[in-house]
Every structure is written in C-alpha cells, then in structure tokens.
C-alpha cells in the first residue's frame, strides 16, 4: 500500500471543499451560463461536477490565459515606467482529468526550458492540481498512447479515484499534502482492500482503452527518423479548412503572439495572446519572408512538433496528451489519431481513423 494514500467519504467531500474555498479560488468542471460543462471558478462545493464530459475548452487558460497582460507601460512627466504583471492568485484546479493535468505539466516545462518564463513559472507554482482519475474511457480519448492517463503516476498534487462510496486520494506533492492537511480528520489511511480496488480500476480502464491499438510510438519513430514522405502532408492539406480550432482546444499548444493595447490614460498593456501555427502569417518574419507560407508546411510543422521525439528525449513527455479534443473540433479530417495512423501507414485516405 502507498503509505501516503488516504480515503475520504463522499459525504465529507463537500466539507473539505468548503475549507479549500475559504483559502483558494477553486476552478472545477461546472455548469456554465448556457448549461454547458465548463472549467470555471466555483462559488460553493455543490457547483462541482463529478460526472461530466471533459469540457471542450481545457483548463490551459488558468496557466496560459488566452489574453494575458505581461507588462504595463505608464507615461508620466515625459518618462516611461514599466510595471510587471500582477502576481498570480493561488488557485486549486479541482477534478481535472489526467490528460489535462499532464498537459499543464507539459506547458509548465515548455516555458521553463531555454529562456524560463517567470510569469508562467510563478503561475504554475501557485496552482494546485487535483485530478479525478478516469474509470471510464471517454469516447474519443487516447491518453494511454501518450502515457498521460487514464491514471497518473506523476504530474498531480492530489489524485482522486472514485471507489463508489468514497474517494481514494493519492498525494503527489507538498501542495497536495497541504490540501489534505486542511481537514485531517476527514481523511483515513487507505486499507489494502481500498488500494487493491484502486489498482483494479486502473487495470480495467486500461483494458477498455485497448493498449494494443496504440500507434503513437510508431508514428514518433517515423517522424524522428525522417521517414514521413513529403507527399503525405500535401495530400492532407485540402482536408484542413484552417480554422485553427485544433490549436485553440489543444491543452498542450502554447504558440502565442504579442500585442499592445493602448488605454486612454496614457498607459498601454503588453499582452500575450494565443495564436495558431496553422494560420498562414504566424511564422512570417519582419523581412517579409515566411518559411511556412503554404499549408502543407504548416501541417507538417504542427505534427512534427507534437509527435516527434523531441520532448520524449528531453523529459519523457509527448506533445500530445490524447484528450481527443481535436477529434471533436476538427472541421476537416486532420485530428491526431487520423494523422498518426496516416504517418504510420505512410499514406493518406482522408477517412478518419476513428470513423
């Protein structure tokens, strides 16, 4: 038995959440204004959803906001002063799925290499991630292909697994331990039987996901050994309508643009905004040269970026966490499973792998 593992009764969860809400802003899957299931701040424990389809918009925005002020310029007396962005608020992301938690860790690391980004690092440090392990595979997810689910073995502060009447709680970090410490009386050490039920749930879910059908590794080898024919990207190109939807719902996409917004009081704010590598001017250089002016080049870049072994060699991560959102949102046919299947086969039919 994992000695740090705990259980908490379902009846006590709301009392624990109420204590968390006293100290932190809590983001959880909840019902939005139009009735959709979304990640949003909750006001009371009852707002949290426990049975939900993973929202189409991932919790990425709470680490990498869609529009993020990074500095503010103020002009006074003929001088400019630069003020840094406001310090991030401590937040708890609650009931996040395993794929999304892996993606948050991926983003944190992506912004920590080369030139570490202090804004993202501070925000990542102020986030506590509580995951809800998946005991039922979602219809289009393939997290098992990229080692980011259905259960996690890293990248969480707390991992909850439903055992029916109670939740199995695994502590992954000091931040997680702090949450449990808010209400120690509500938690009990997990028994051998509870640990066995948790392990059995993981095995059963893995079985349902069908590990044997995973081709991600094969596609990664082909890309990283330059064995993908150029004609493949050409053939895929007309099947994309360049809506950018895949990049905007992708929990690991982190490309951005920078824009200044002028305000009336002589101040201006420099913002980082999500952008998409699928848009044709994304890589345009100041000289006017655009290394990826045609769509096949942009599609190639996207999948080289996500599927190649570059992250795997660095820290064992994959650029895709298998959440399946691109499957839901793609207006053409260029979602990850379809493209991975095409890379592995070396040919393109235009027919989705999951059809």
């Amino acid at each position: 038995v994992n000695s740090a593992a705990r259980t908490i009764s379902r009846h006590d969860v709301n009392a624990w959440l109420a204590l968390i809400l006293r100290e932190w802003e809590v983001i959880a899957p909840t019902r939005g204004a139009g009735g959709d299931e979304v990640f949003a701040p909750i006001a009371m424990p009852e707002d949290v959803l426990w049975e939900f389809e993973n929202p189409l918009a991932p919790p990425k925005q709470f680490l990498l906001p869609q529009t993020e002020p990074i500095a503010r310029f103020r002009r006074a007396d003929g001088h400019y002063t630069v003020e840094p962005a406001e310090a991030p608020r401590p937040r708890v992301l609650f009931n996040v799925r395993s794929c999304d938690a892996s993606a948050l860790a991926f983003l944190r690391d992506a912004y920590a290499y080369d030139l570490p980004d202090d804004v993202i690092a501070r925000r990542a440090a102020s986030l506590t991630v509580v995951t809800l392990a998946c005991v039922t595979p979602c219809p289009v997810g393939f997290c098992v292909c990229s080692d980011s689910g259905p259960f996690l073995h890293r990248d969480f502060d707390l991992q909850l697994t439903s055992l029916g009447e109670s939740l199995f709680v695994e502590v992954g970090s000091d931040k997680g331990r702090d949450l449990v410490a808010l209400a120690p009386a509500l938690f009990h050490s997990a028994s051998d039987d509870e640990q066995a039920r948790r392990d059995s749930a993981e095995r059963e879910t893995l079985g349902l996901l069908g590990v044997e059908t995973c081709h991600f590794g094969s596609a990664m080898r082909r890309i990283s050994t330059h064995r993908v024919p150029e004609a493949l990207w050409e053939a895929m190109s007309p099947w994309c309508v360049e809506c950018g939807g895949c990049t905007h719902v992708c929990p690991t996409c982190y490309c951005f643009s920078v824009a200044d917004s002028k305000e009336t009081d002589g101040c201006s704010t420099r913002c980082r905004l999500w952008d998409s590598c699928q848009y044709d001017a994304f890589t345009m250089e100041a000289s006017g040269h655009n290394p990826r002016a045609v769509r096949p080049e942009r599609i190639k870049r996207r999948f080289h970026h996500k599927v190649s072994a570059q992250y795997f060699r660095r820290d064992g991560r994959v650029g895709c966490v298998g959440c399946g959102r691109c499957v839901k949102v793609c207006m053409g046919a260029l979602d990850m499973p379809t493209v991975v299947a095409a890379i592995r086969r070396g040919s393109w039919s235009g027919v989705p792998a999951h059809a």
Binding site: V241, G244, M284, G288, R295, M331, G350, A355
Partner: protein, 571 residues
C-alpha cells in the same frame, strides 16, 4: 462601451441622454429641412432590431431609403433555395448536403468564407461523394474534386452554359453511358460526373459582388438541376450561402427600399393597413434609394450594426462619403470605420448579449437568448431604436422586446405563429421558403448576356484584364476582427501582403518576368497602381484577379468597375 458624440471634430464620451439627444437633434434638423435621409439595417442584427430600423426609416425619418449591405447578392441566389423539409425535425440542409452523392460548389473559397459548409462537403467526400468545383481559380476544395469548371473573366457564363449543354446531351443518352463530345475535357468530366448523380447538391457561395452575374448563374443552375431530374436523379439540394447570418430575417423585416415588411409590394393595401394600425401616423410608402447609391444620395444616415465601407468596392471612397455626411448616427457593438466617422455612436449589445430572433435561409425563426451580461454602458439594440423613435416623435414607441415581437406578429402574417415558446423549440418556427413571386426573378439566359463587363468587346491580343473576385471579406467583418478564434485567413493574408496583392497565372508571370511577391505596375484609363503579385497555377490567362480583401489598393485603376482593361509591366 459607452456612447460618444462628436465635438470640435473629435468623439468624446457622453451619457446616454446626451448622445440620444444629439442623434435626435441632428436627424430632426435634417428632416425638417427636407434633405434625403437613409437607414442601413443588417444581417448581423436580430429581426426585432431590423423591424424597428424599418419603422425608424418609414415613420420617424419619412424615407424609403433603407437597405442592407450585399442584399442584391442574396436576393439573386435566395429564390433558388431548395431544401427539403417541412417539420422542425426534418433533415437539415447540412444533413442533406452530407448525404449527396455529387456536390457542385460554385465558390470563391468556401473553406475560408463558410467553413461549416466546407466541413459538410468534406464529410460527403469521406462517404465517397464526388465533387465538382466552379470558380475563377482552383480553390483548396478543387484539390479534392473530380472536375473543376473554370470561369473566365471575359465571359463568366460561357463555361457554365457549355456544362449545361453537355449535361443536357448526356442525360438524353443512355443512362450510364455519359460520354459527351465537343466540349473541353474539364467540362466533359464535370458533365459526366453530374449525369450520374442520383442525389446532387449545389452550393452557391456569394463569390461575386455583381447581382446580375449571380442571378444569371442561378438561372443556369436551375437549368442544370432540371436536367438532373430529367436524367432520373432526385430533386437536388440547392443551398445559396448568405454573407451574414440573418440576411433573410433583415429582408423579411422590410430592410429593403422597394418592399414592405413581409416582402409585400409597397402598394399592397393589406400590408399598409396592418403597418398603419401598428405604427400609426403617416408612414412613407415610397421606394427609396438602395445601398449602392445611398452614400452619394443622403445627407443624414443611421447605420445599424454594419459598416458600409466593409462591402464597398472602393472602401476609402465609402469612408470619405460617410465622413462628409451632415449627420451620421452609428449603432454598433464594434468599433468600425463607420463608428469612427460618426457624429453620434450608440453602443448596442452583440450576439449573446441580448435576446432576439433570427431567420435562417430555409425559414426557421429561432430565438437567441441573452447569455452574458452586457459590458459597460451597452444597451440592447431594440431599446436604442425605440428611444430614437420616441425622440423623433414617432407614434410607434414599443416599450419592451415582447412588444416589438408582438408587433412583428401583427404586421407580418408569415410571422404570426412565431411566439416565444415556438422560437425556443429546437428547430424554431418555420415561416416557409422565400416567396419567389415577390423577389425579382432570376434572369433567364437571354437576359444574362447583358452583364456589365468590358468583356462584351473582344480584348485585343496582349491586353490584360483586372477583375475583382468575391463579395465576401471575413477580414472586414468586425465580428471576425474582435474574435481571436476567427482571425484567420484574410487577416493573415493582409499581414502577408500589407500593400495589397493581385493574383496572376504562373505562366503569365513567367512571360512577364515576375515571381511570387514581386511588384507590377498597373495602368488603366482610370488610374495607376503598383502592387505585388501572387501566382496561381490554374486561373484564366491574361487576367489579374483582385482578392476582395485587397481591393482598396487597385481601386484607382478599377474606379468602381468590375472588370477593366489594364497595361501591366514589371515595377
């Protein structure tokens, strides 16, 4: 997010009372002077807002000069719509399109202008459907097509007429033995694909700004579909695509200079009686000036949820015309060229910020609910228009959105059944197809020959033509500009070509000695311009096509004409 009024040449923040008073004062002064006034409604606004815009024009401002941008394009294509279904749960146009075995797309680039339709086309192709694209050049979809029918700038109808003749011959032959002689290979291939169609679908994008050309194409499509039925196929789906989502609703509400709400003729006694009973007073029943001529005709203008320059062939001319008006009142949710030139800016709620109904092409009236709080001092559009009606002394002064809606139910018989619960149902309330007897009929082939075009005269050998393509410009639409998720193709294209671009056949470029991105000098009888070229492997030789987003740059050369002869040399 707050009202503004122009003072000493600059817009300044104002209270609602100040801004409404300023709008009323300036319009009232022009009204009392008897100078021409106009109102522009919009397919971006709800039915209720458009209905009030019509009431504002015909009752408060006593003018029949009211219109919506690109109405002509829509009216040329809309009567052709043929979408099956009568009950809310019948297959939608999307489902029918995805079920077609042959899809014909007459497009600019549907993947850019109407990506949701492109998705349905791709789904049909995945199921094994065959595709024919028709247009000025190969689009992205052409790469997946079985055949492409290339339109020439000189005689755009020729290729389609040849296709119709070829199809006609093919269906007269033994079914399945569709071998067509005497036409180009591409037209033969397209006819051969079409002749085998059991359930075809035609998608008509507003790929050109000339309503006469669109109407002529519509009549040719009608002839093609007749032949398909003769050939044993089912009745094809015909899906004209509007430029703005609620264009049908705006026109049903009467945002047109020559028809009353409900698309009744101006002299229809019954329609007049119903409107008089609702509006009171003495409405203006005369035909006014349409959108294209309005900017040169009126001295005062109320623009509701649109920017006239965004769909004008020479945007900067439209902007100067707006700036020279004696009164310009702009009600919009976005900052546009029109709002920057306005004397009074009245900020109104956008889609999702206010409740209102919209009508689809197939005649489904559905209610869009307010689902987010309006930001700043923004007010619902119906309320702003109602305040203007009140300020200008109109007898029709609805006090609630329901009040406006009940008015529509009373004034427009087709909308009588559109109660709130029906419009909230999945599929909404059906008001039926556009009445073909009321809309101007699409010209038949004999009329179609008279298209405004220099192409009627044979072009001397070696001369070039310059032609605008497309009536649809995503990049000019403030909804697109304000949405990070929609800032895509045109926005990127402008970033890539900040000084404009024209498209040239790659073989022409080689002959002229220019490459991708190089600049050419254009000179016509009207003026000159220098612009970069982008190369296309497949488009008519001897013609330079101007993507609509880049029309401003070459506007001095074209001077408003659709096609002009130009001299081209390397800059």
């Amino acid at each position: 997010l707050f009202p503004q009024v122009r003072e000493h040449g600059a817009l300044r923040r104002a209270t609602w009372d100040e801004a409404l008073a300023a709008a009323v004062l300036s319009l009232d002064r022009l009204r009392s002077q008897g100078v021409p006034l106009g109102v522009i409604g919009s397919g971006r606004a709800s039915n209720e807002e458009n209905f009030l815009a019509v009431a504002l024009a015909r009752t408060a401002l006593h003018t029949g000069t009211l219109d919506a941008a690109l109405r002509g394009c829509y009216e040329a294509l809309a009567p052709l719509a043929r979408i099956a279904g009568g009950a809310p749960h019948d297959p939608t146009a999307f489902a029918q399109l995805e079920g077609a075995d042959v899809v014909v797309v007459i497009e600019g680039d549907v993947a850019t202008s109407h990506p949701r339709i492109a998705t349905s086309i791709l789904r049909a192709l995945r199921r094994g459907s065959r595709l024919v694209t028709v247009g000025w050049h190969h689009s992205e979809l052409t790469r997946l097509a079985d055949a492409h029918v290339m339109l020439g700038a000189a005689a755009p109808l020729d290729a389609l007429q040849a296709l119709q003749r070829a199809l006609h011959e093919a269906v007269q032959q033994t079914p399945g033995a569709a071998k067509v002689e005497g036409v180009t290979a591409e037209i033969g291939a397209a006819a051969s694909v079409l002749a085998r169609a059991r359930q075809a679908a035609f998608v008509l994008a507003p790929f050109d700004a000339n309503p006469a050309l669109l109407a002529a194409i519509a009549s040719l499509v009608a002839a093609l579909t007749d032949d398909l039925v003769v050939g044993g196929g089912g009745k094809p789906l015909i899906l004209p695509l509007p430029v703005r989502a609620n264009t049908r609703g705006a026109l049903d509400m009467g945002v047109t200079p020559h028809l009353l709400p409900g698309r009744f003729p101006l002299d229809d006694a019954g329609a007049r009686e119903r409107l008089r009973a609702l509006w009171g007073g003495t409405p203006n029943w005369t035909a006014g000036v349409g959108f294209d001529a309005m900017l040169g005709d009126v001295r005062g203008l109320v623009v509701f949820a649109d920017d006239p320059a965004a769909s004008h062939r020479w945007p900067s001319h439209a902007a100067s015309a707006l700036a020279s008006l004696d009164a310009l009142v702009v009600c919009d949710s976005y900052v546009t060229g029109a709002s920057r030139a306005a004397h009074v800016v009245l900020p109104i709620a956008a889609f999702g910020e206010s409740t209102g109904s919209v009508t689809s092409l197939e005649g489904r009236v559905q209610q869009c609910q307010e689902c987010v709080v309006t930001p700043g001092e923004v007010r619902a559009g119906w309320r702003v228009l109602s305040d203007l009606l009140k300020g200008l002394g109109a007898t029709y002064q609805p006090t609630s959105l329901d009040d406006v809606h009940r008015g529509i139910q009373r004034a427009i018989p087709q909308y009588a059944a559109c109660d709130a619960s029906g419009m909230m149902r999945n599929g909404g309330v059906r008001v039926g197809a556009v009445d073909r007897d009321i809309l101007p009929p699409a010209p038949r082939k004999s009329q179609a020959a008279h298209l405004p075009s220099v192409a009627d005269a044979p072009t001397p050998a070696g001369a070039w033509r310059l032609r605008y393509e497309g009536a649809f410009d995503w990049g000019d639409d403030p909804v697109v500009l304000s949405s990070p998720l929609l800032r895509r193709s045109t926005q990127s294209a402008r970033k890539r070509h900040p000084d404009g671009v024209v498209a040239m056949n790659a073989a022409d470029a080689e002959a002229l000695g220019v490459r991708e991105g190089w600049r050419v000098h254009l000179r016509s009888a009207n003026g000159e311009a220098e612009v970069a070229v982008t190369l296309r492997p497949a488009q008519e030789r001897g013609t330079l096509f101007v993507p609509y987003a880049h029309r401003e740059r070459v506007a001095p050369v074209a001077n408003g004409a659709e096609v002009v002869e130009v001299d081209v040399r390397r800059a």
